[in-house]
Each structure stands twice: as C-alpha cells, then as structure tokens.
C-alpha cells in the first residue's frame, strides 16, 4: 500500500458507474479500541482457563528468533501438546510473538497485524533486542524497546531463546492468563494515544489509519 491509495479518488465500478471513494473512511473502521473489562466471577475464571489452553500463535517471523519456531512446532519439541498452534492470519491468532529485533519497516506491519488480531490477544517478546535493543542498540533502523510500541505481556531472555525457553515463556503466559494478569490488550486501549505517539515518532511514513482492524 502506498500513500496515494489512501487519498480520496474517483473510480469506475464494473457497471460503468463513476463514484468517489474515501479509502480511510470506506475501507477501515476508524473507531479507537475499547477496554474490555474482565467479568469478576467464576465465568471469567473459566474463560481464562479456556484462553490459556488455546494459545494460537501468529506465524509471522518478524526477526531471527522465528527460526526456533520450526523446531518448536515439529515433533522434537511438539508445542501442540501444550495447547499451542500456529495460524497463518492475525484474525485467527491470539498470541503475537515478536521474535527479536524489529526494523521500523516491520514495526509498521506488526502494528497493523496486532490491531487486526481479535481480543483477547497477547504479545510475547523474544530476546535481548526487544528488551533493550540487543546487538542492534546502535542501529539506525531497529527499535530498542518494544513496550513503547506494543503492550508486552512476557519477555523471554536469550539471543536467540532456545525452543525450550520459548516454551517456558508460553507456559508463563498461560499462568498469567489464568490469573487474569495478561491485560496487554486493555492496556493498549487505555493508553492508545501514548502508544500512537511513540509509534508515529519512529515510523516516518505513516500512511495508514490510526487504528485499523
């Protein structure tokens, strides 16, 4: 997508009818995200249990840590027995794994991907790069701390973390979900403007709606 695609323009329908479209309004929902307050009762506990036992990971290899996902999803480590599986599209996933460094170019896609994911959704950050820049602390093209741009629920140390450590991260996330502490998505909704300011500060060509899902 380029910036021109977002401009108001005239197009011809297959019927030969000319009409004007405004992509930002017509193609996207511009509403801000809203906080979904947890229901404080036994039902919520049941929900959380169910959520924690069905971690669906988005298969988006944003950085080098993605290479350890293949061993994890194959028989040697067999993450499926922990209720984990990989999905190809953000609409079906509830866990976004940021596997290491994020260039600003990828960050832009990752933000879209995150916003397209359905609640409840969680973010797991792998490796030094997401914590404080890692090896690329002086790189002009990678962000240094992910929690300024996306709400991170769990960090896993390592460069890169082994599949076992990644699995430990998911197990930790499961306990967080069960205890109702994985509230990243609500945090994103509550501090939406703060996140957007940070995101726009590093993404130089912001050519998409503020929130698109």
């Amino acid at each position: 997508m380029s910036l021109e695609d977002l401009y108001r323009k005239t197009t011809i329908s297959p019927d030969g009818e000319e009409f004007e479209i405004n992509p930002i309004e017509d193609y996207f929902c511009t509403d801000k995200p809203e906080e979904v307050k947890p229901v404080q009762n036994i039902l919520e506990k049941f929900y959380n249990w169910a959520r924690s036992e069905s971690i669906w990971i988005l298969g988006f290899g944003t950085g080098c840590g993605a290479i350890e996902m293949r061993p994890l999803m194959t028989p040697r480590f067999d993450a499926y027995r922990y209720g984990i599986q990989w999905r190809p599209t953000p609409r079906q996933a509830n866990l976004l794994i940021i596997s290491g460094y994020l260039s600003t170019k990828t960050l832009k896609r990752v933000i879209r991907v995150y916003e397209q994911m359905q609640n409840p959704k969680y973010v797991m950050a792998l490796g030094s790069c997401t914590i404080n820049g890692g090896m690329y602390f002086d790189s002009y093209n990678t962000i240094k701390r992910l929690d300024y741009y996306l709400p991170v629920d769990v960090y896993v140390a390592g460069c890169m973390p082994r599949p076992e450590a990644l699995l430990a991260g998911v197990v930790k996330l499961k306990t967080l979900i069960k205890t109702g502490m994985a509230e990243g998505a609500n945090d994103y909704a509550n501090r939406f403007d703060w996140y957007k300011t940070n995101q726009k500060a590093v993404i130089l060509n912001w050519d998409m709606p503020d929130y698109n899902w």
Binding site: G134, M135, Y155, G158, A165
Partner: protein, 598 residues
C-alpha cells in the same frame, strides 16, 4: 508403471507409525550441552573489576558497578550484565583476565517486566549460580598474548666481571609487541605510588608517538630513565594480564620511551618554555629522587630552587646505592641534568650544619624541603660486628661508586635479603671475579626464599653470576680467631613475622649452620641521620610514638609550616615512593604559599 510406483511409494513410509516418537518428554527441564553459552556466573572473589569484559562487549551490555571493596589491585567494580543487550557471544569470558567470569548452561529466564533483565553476576543471586557446566575459555584460546616479550640481556658469563649494564632495552619491534599486550584496564595506576598514566603511555608506544609518551610520564615522574630501570614496579604485581599470564613489562616500556627520546629534545617536548618564573624560593636538602622530583615540579611552577647536596654528585641513593650494572651513570645523569638544566641551582659538597645552617635556610628561603634519605647502615649487633672486616653494605656501595679502593676478601658473607643486599652481593661477586677469578659470596637472610623482600629476578641473576643465596637463617655470631674472621654462625629461622604481622623472628636453635668468610657485610636496612636539624628545630617537630617525624600525608608539611619532609625519611624506601612524595610535596608547597599569600 512409473505413475503407479510414484503413487504407491509414498505409502511405504507408514512404517514410521510403529517407531518410537522422537519427542522430548520434558522440554522445560532439558539440560543444555556442557559447553552451552547460557547465563553469566562471576566468581566475585576472583574478579578484580578490570573491565576488559566491558571493553570487549560490542553491545555495551556490560557496565561496571561499584559493589565491592576497592583495594590494591582490585577496583571494587564488578560487571553488571544487561540481558536487554547481551548476545551471549562469551567474548567477555574469553578476555576475562582472571578467569572469574563464565557462562553457565542455564538458558531460561522469563519475566513480565523488561527492566528486570539486568543483574550483577555473583552479587545478585540467581538459580544458576551453582551450576557447574557451561562455557569457559578453552585451553589454547588466547585473545591476547600471555607471554612477556623477553629483553635482550648480557648472559652471566658476559657480565659477571664487569659493571656494564645488563639489560639492553627493547628494540622498537619488541617494545611494540610488548605494548600490544596491554589491555588498558588501568588497575596498575593506583598501585603506582606516583600514579603514572601507565595505560596512556603504553598506548603512546603502540601509536609510536614517544614524545607524547614522555609528556605523559613527566606529568607524574621526572626520573623516567631511572625508574625505567630500577623501579620496584608495584604496577606489575597487580597487572591484570599477570593473573593468568606474565604481567606486562611496564618498567621496561617506560625505559623504552625514555631511551628513545634524546636528551636534547626534552626541553621542547616537555614544553618547558611555557613556564612563568616567579620570585618564590625553595631550598631543598638532598639531591636524591625526592629532592629532584620536588625540584622539577616546583620549577615547573616557576619557583627558584636551590639544592644542597652533601656529596660530590647529585642522585643520592640512586647514584651511591645502586650499582652501575643496574643503573648506568650516563642514564642517571640524563634525568638529573635535565632537571638541573631548568635553572635549578645546586650546591655540592655542602653539609647542613657545617657549610650552611638551618637558620640561614629558614631566613633566606620561603620553604625548606628536607629529603636526606637513609644513609646510615644498621647493624645486626651480634657478637663480632665491631671487627674491622665487618662492613655496612651502603658504605661499600658508596665507595664503589666513588671509585675508592675497597678491600675484597676471598670469601664474603652478606647478611640481608633485600635489594640492597643483592646489590652488594652482586657487586662484590664482580669484584671477586675480577680479583680472584672466582666468586665466593654467600648472601643469607632471615626470610626464606618465598618471602625474601628482594626482587625475584635479582635473586635469580645473582645466582647466575655465581653468588650463593642461602636464605632462612638468623645470624648468631661472627667467629673470630686471631683477630681474623672465620665465618658466620647462623641458626634456622622458622618465622619472621608474628600473627599481628609484626617483625618478631622465631628461631630453631637446634639447626645450626656455619658460613666461612673473611669478610662480613651487613645489609639489613638503613636509618636516617637528622642531626643537622639541630635541637632548636627538632624539638619543635611533632613526632609519633616511634620517634618518626609527623607530616601531613598529602602535602608532607611538618608541624613547622615552612619545613617539609620527603623521600625515604617518610616512606619507602624506594625511588618511586620518593618521586611520588616529592611531587606531592611540590604541590603542597605551592598550595601552602598560595594560601598564605592570598
């Protein structure tokens, strides 16, 4: 047929249905390989906080935090690792000078707060602290050379009958190679009494910018040719490279710079023309290292200096105590002449009290700086020491320098285990070789060989030259028959210091030994002679319980504000302490005069 085969053949692999699964049963507790580069461990008692790990870390993941006690050879800093930066390359382990840092094979650390991933290994307790496996530096992998560049020197048979300098100094290539070994940690700076900028001047050697090196050295030490040869090199004992290998030859590198810059360039290199002279006058008593050092730094500040020296030449113990084979007189003169050339007035053969009095000094000068040193030999006071053939090492050494004839007997015993004892032993050994063609000198000391105060290489070289070093004996009696010395009776010394580390030797009287000798030399230490101060001033000076003059530890000012002390009288005895306290006294004098003239 091919098609049918192609359709059927994939089904052949259904046999895997009957195979054992390859899945790891409990991946969360899987133990990594013994060499795995996991999380950091640091043995903080071994660590010296040299910071090479910080310097090698390409990610700026390691910084040094002050968590331990700072002491000599240990900065008290310890590495803190940021797992938001670390890449587990383990270069920090490979360059660790002490080998205290290692990586365990633990690898799981999950946290909800990104700020938690920063810890000081060994201080912040972690579950993996007790793990034995993990990455350590392999034997055979060294990222900096551990072995010292050997220096060309005269072999024993070339040197044992002359006073030619033994060490030839580094060539450019050798000096570059030795300077290359430095890891620039800076631990040595604190150990040096003068706090010389050691890493900086070694860097200047690497850059082949010797004039800059000389400037750096002269900031803290104006006797570099001398210290480059005979310094007690406290720096090398704490050198971080020395923990796993041989410490850098810091002393020889210093000598290399001084040797390479010709004396005629000193004035220009050291920017002496930029000094503004003033009218303040300082008298310095004694042209030894402390006096010369104070003279240099005071003249740098523009003072008018007059030195009063009792002997015929300047240099003090450096000239009259250290044999020529260690410190040739031309090199000594290079440093001294440069200082004297800065307009420092010097009166030789001038004894305070005889030629000039303290009252005159006090009247004519703003400040009097006394650094007369330790020139009175101490005696063991065992029976027989009053014999004419029992000498004081320090007197013999002075006579050798002055080229006065001394009696060299065929068999000599030296009592003492310090560097002066080695100096006289080796000097006498040379004279014996010249006179008799063979060496029959025995040096004996209370201290056993492992705790002998003399430098290790002095002992080794003395032995190479034929002298016998037989330490661990307490002298009991000099046997004299017909007014002729027969030898020295000794008993075994068990310990020299008691539990409180005070000098309190214990002997085993049952183990005796006898060293045959015609001549005995005592070299168990020296004392000072401050009689020139006269009672008038001596009474006014504050002294401690053991009769030593009390001075301010920073300025070396005594209780008489115009009187400063320095040199071996106050601390040492060695050249570098004297240089350091001469420098400090110069600063102290300047500060004092500035404060009273404001």
């Amino acid at each position: 047929m091919g098609i049918i085969k192609d359709i059927v053949s994939p089904f052949a692999v259904w046999k895997h249905f009957f195979k054992e699964p390859v899945t790891i049963k409990d991946p969360l507790n899987r133990i990594a390989a013994p060499r795995y580069r996991g999380f950091h461990q640091n043995d903080i008692s071994q660590c010296i906080g040299c910071g090479t790990c910080e310097a090698i870390c390409e990610n700026e993941a390691i910084d040094l935090v002050a968590v331990a006690q700072t002491k000599n050879g240990d900065s008290g800093l310890r590495p803190r690792v940021d797992y938001g930066r670390c890449c587990w390359c383990a270069l920090c382990v490979d360059v660790c000078t002490t080998g205290s840092l290692k990586l365990s094979n633990a690898y799981t650390w999950v946290d909800t707060d990104g700020d938690n991933f920063r810890f000081t290994p060994g201080i912040d307790l972690k579950p993996w602290d007790s793990l034995k496996d993990g990455y350590t530096k392999a034997k055979g992998l060294e990222l900096y050379p551990l072995e010292r560049m050997p220096m060309q020197h005269l072999h024993a048979h070339q040197r044992d009958n002359s006073f030619i300098e033994i060490m030839k100094g580094y060539s450019k290539e050798e000096a570059m190679a030795e300077a290359d070994r430095c890891v620039s940690c800076g631990i040595c700076v604190a150990a040096c009494p003068a706090h010389m900028g050691i890493p900086e001047y070694i860097k200047a050697i690497r850059e082949d910018n010797l004039e800059k090196g000389l400037q750096i050295m002269y900031q803290t030490n104006p006797l570099v040719e001398i210290c480059g040869r005979i310094c007690t090199h406290k720096c090398e004992t704490v050198c971080s490279v020395g923990h796993r290998g041989e410490p850098l030859s810091i002393r020889w590198l210093k000598r290399y710079i001084a040797d390479q810059v010709p004396a005629t360039d000193y004035y220009r290199v050291l920017n002496q023309d930029k000094v503004e002279k003033n009218s303040r006058k300082v008298a310095i008593v004694g042209a030894g290292p402390a006096g010369l050092s104070a003279a240099y730094y005071l003249s740098k500040l523009g003072y008018q200096i007059t030195i009063f020296e009792k002997l015929a030449q300047a240099g003090g113990m450096m000239r009259y105590g250290i044999p020529e084979y260690r410190l040739p007189y031309d090199q000594l003169d290079k440093d001294i002449n440069y200082i004297l050339s800065l307009g420092v007035e010097i009166n030789y053969n001038t004894t305070i009290g005889t030629n000039v009095t303290m009252d005159e000094l006090h009247a004519n000068f703003d400040i009097v700086y006394v650094a007369t040193g330790l020139h009175e030999g101490r005696s063991t006071r065992i029976p027989g020491t009053e014999h004419a053939n029992v000498y004081q090492a320090i007197e013999l050494l002075r006579k050798i320098t002055e080229n006065k004839p001394i009696e060299v007997a065929e068999k000599i015993v030296v009592i003492g285990g310090g560097n002066v004892a080695m100096d006289i032993t080796r000097s006498l050994a040379r004279l014996q070789k010249q006179k008799y063609g063979k060496v029959q000198t025995i040096a004996t000391s209370l201290e056993t060989e492992d705790i002998m105060p003399a430098d290790r290489e002095e002992v080794i070289e003395a032995r190479e030259e034929g002298a016998i070093i037989n330490p661990g004996w307490g002298p009991r009696e000099i046997k004299i028959l017909n007014n002729k010395i027969q030898g020295l009776k000794v008993v075994q010394c068990i310990s020299v210091f008691d539990e409180n580390k005070r000098f309190n030797p214990k002997f085993d009287e049952s183990v005796e030994n006898f060293f045959e000798a015609d001549m005995i030399v005592e070299s168990i230490g020296q004392g000072m002679n401050l009689s020139f101060l006269t009672e008038k001033y001596a009474e006014q000076l504050e002294k401690d319980s053991r009769g030593r003059i009390l001075v301010d530890t920073l300025t070396y000012q005594s209780s008489l504000p115009w009187l400063f002390f320095g040199g071996d009288i106050i601390e040492g005895p060695d050249v570098i302490h004297s240089v350091a306290n001469g420098h400090k006294a110069a600063k102290g004098i300047d500060n004092y005069l500035n404060s009273i003239q404001k």
